[in-house]
């Protein structure tokens, strides 16, 4: 296990390094300048500013400087928000993003599991059809449409929850719900088909034959086996939630990272683009890692000791 962890960590660092390098180089291909008043900037002013921020140096040197600072944990300063470090910007914004993302994921997974399990157990009944319909709708309608609907009906018409803004805990509910829709749909669909498959397996018949009560069969044999592929799904789902927050944060006025990320690309705020890319990649790698570890917990047959697994 220890060797496995060290190996994974090394891979993670290498992957991050490649992502950082690729992003840095791709960013150089974007046209324009990070200066806010590009429209009015004369050539000579631009040259002076470039010199001030070291952007007049060769790309290779800029790259080395960046990597050098990065290793020391310095992500630099934002161009757009003068005087703010990228670290403090991320620090201020990550809380709200993580909160709605996590709530969406947790809530979505629970509801998805319940829906999927019920519909598998009541296969081809009205409940099953309803839950399949919900799953199909959830998959095919983008989350921002749900966000707009939730905002209008629950926020404006009924007035139960805040329309937008980030004032108190209630403010987090609608964005989390909007984010959870895709999760509910994906998880429900997956667990349902997995359950149906497992229910038809010989060992389930055996368990029933040896007189185990129904809930014992379902919990010990069916769900546990059906969960493994669902856990696989959670990794990509967590990532899609991270990107899903971009739009949801904008709609509900959540002071999070997602909106900042798109904005920083539009205004070419180099250091912020790099910082947030780095954060997202690190999160992604971490989530994939957690999923791998969860496998081992759910299925004793998967052995993490073997190097070949990585």
């Amino acid at each position: 296990m220890k060797r496995y962890l060290i190996q994974r960590f090394a891979y993670a660092v290498i992957t991050l390094f490649i992502i950082v390098s690729a992003t840095f180089l791709l960013m150089q291909l974007l046209p324009g300048t990070p200066y806010s008043n590009a429209e009015k900037l004369t050539e000579s002013q631009r040259a002076i500013l470039d010199a001030k921020y070291g952007l007049d140096k060769p790309v290779a040197l800029q790259y080395l400087t960046y990597i050098g600072n990065l290793v020391q944990g310095d992500l630099g300063y934002s161009f757009q928000y003068q005087g703010r470090t990228v670290m403090s910007m991320i620090g201020d914004r990550i809380g709200p993003s993580a909160l709605i993302g996590l709530q969406g994921l947790v809530f979505g997974t629970i509801i998805g599991l319940v829906l999927g399990i019920i519909s598998a157990l009541r296969h081809n009944t009205a409940i099953d059809y309803v839950s399949v319909t919900i799953a199909v709708l959830g998959m095919s309608i983008p989350s921002f449409v749900f966000a707009a609907l939730l905002q209008y009906y629950i926020g404006v018409k009924l007035g139960w929850l805040p329309v937008a803004l980030w004032e108190n805990y209630q403010s987090t509910i609608l964005p989390s719900l909007a984010l959870s829709v895709t999760v509910i749909a994906t998880v429900a669909r997956f667990i349902r088909s997995e359950m149906l498959e497992v229910l038809g397996q010989d060992y389930v018949t055996t368990a029933r034959a040896k007189g185990l009560n129904e809930s014992g069969v379902i919990w010990k044999h069916v769900i546990r086996n059906a969960l493994i592929p669902v856990v696989t799904m959670l990794g990509p789902l967590a990532v899609s939630i991270m990107t899903g927050t971009l739009v949801i944060e904008k709609i509900f006025g959540v002071p999070g990272l997602g909106e900042q990320f798109t904005l920083s690309i539009l205004v070419l705020d180099y250091s912020v683009i790099m910082g947030i890319t780095l954060l997202y990649s690190a999160l992604f790698i971490f989530v994939v890692f957690v999923v791998d570890v969860l496998y081992g917990l759910l299925d004793p047959r998967i052995d993490l000791k073997g190097g070949s697994k990585a």
Binding site: G32, E39, E43, Q82, G83, Q103, L165, I251, G253, E259
Partner: protein
Amino acid sequence: MNKKWVSRFMAPAAAALILAGCNFSGGDESGGSSEGESGAEGDGSAAQTIVLSEQSDIPTMDSTKAHDSIAFNVLNNINEGLYRQNESNEVELAMAEKHDKNEDETVHTFTLREQNWSNGEPVTAQDFEYAWKRVMREAGPYNYMLVTAGIKNAEAIMNEEVDADELGVKAIDEKTLEVTLEAPNPLFETLLAFATFLPQNQAFVEEQGDQYALEAENVLANGPFVFSEWQQEQGWTLEKNEDYWDAENVKLDKAEFVVVKDPQSGANLYETEKVDRVKLTSSLVDQYQDNDGFTNEKASGIVFLRFNHNHEVLSNANIRRAVNMAIDRDGLTDVILKDGSTPLYGVVPEGYYNSPEGEDYRELNGDINKGTAEEAQEFWKKGLEEAGIDSLTVSLNIADTDEMKKVGEYLQAQLEDNLPGFKLELKAVPFAQRLEIEKAIEYDLSLSTWGPDYADPMTYLDMWVDGSSANRMDYSNPKLDELVAEARTDTDLSNRYKTLLEIEKVLLEEDAAVAPLYQRGNTYLTRPSIENLVIHPAGADLSLKWASVK
């Protein structure tokens, strides 16, 4: 059975995150103005509190580095320079009580009034000297405003030829500031109302170091309001400054600003009375135009077509005039855009720039190059003959925003319909690329935008001078250059204004050098109970000094 799983893995993680602090702004204070809080028992007067919205956070509160209207708006309301824009967009004495000039108007002496910073320190002449030199030293994004103002050595400092200490500004004593100009400048007072010319308290700025202006408590106020709260990405609060010299004329107690990025959410917040003023996009106009609070506000930005004057056919004035006349601007603004934009037949927009006698620039110069499709075709035919061709294919450089693409497609249809043999290819690129192509003059036609730097027609006129960095189309007319040079130092304001009118005539009546299309506009939902919210054309968009709730 699910419960177990949940309690084991998910719940603790979620709880930990909630505890990790999410910077909630604490909602109970931010109700809209029109409900509650008012002195309900008796006097019937409304609470002087309003909630406004902006579409993003304040990039910086450091006036020497500020570069966008959101920052300018806050700075304009919490700080005050020597001059301030009043309710009719003219500048009037503010921090300065008295303004004396020497005979040739190159040395200006300002006497400051008694006013303290919000930390109790007096506002001194040194504060102005320090801040202006700091703009130059830090190469602030608007340092060229000091050059435009003609302050001695500003240009040399900007080009890094002399040290920032050599700037022509000097504190004679605590209350006397002396500014030396390179030459007399009729624009000087107008420019002084701009945020770049605000004072800063040296001791405070240095004490805060790199934390200066990053939080509400790291900023000092000397204007009508103080900056009492600032939550990153969420909003900020201004409260009345009781120590302000003109506090008796400030009626508003509190103005909250919330960051609302999505216009539909903004409209929903307006409807639920959480916010009193939100900006709409054209897609929302149909839905809300019958609302009491719906307003169309003229903006000062313009959208126009640049012609590449090196192009062998587009260098022909008849062709350019034909293009000018072939475009139906009303259709563009009323059918396609529907966002408060209005047709424009000139480079100086309407409604902001009055002559010393109080007449609007646009009214005085009228609609230039406005014509029918038939007139356009006449010029077109003449132009084609002169060029010795019978058809023309050119490309249009446009930014790939929704607005610009819509306009581009409209222009394509109009020009190809009205001018036989004209073919327009649209080349949509990202905004930054559009600008680069324009600066390199590697286009045939370019769909351009311009916004004013200061509240004077000159900001739309001197850009056409030969070699100006904003010309970007190799246009050159010595007569225009001469007129601009004349207006720059003419301190006889009536005469100067006549010259300004003349410049536009040379540019458009004589040369049809560009094709103006429309003046930008904004549509808002504004709570009708709010009075005297003053909207300015340049610099800060908004003054709250005179605003009140009825």
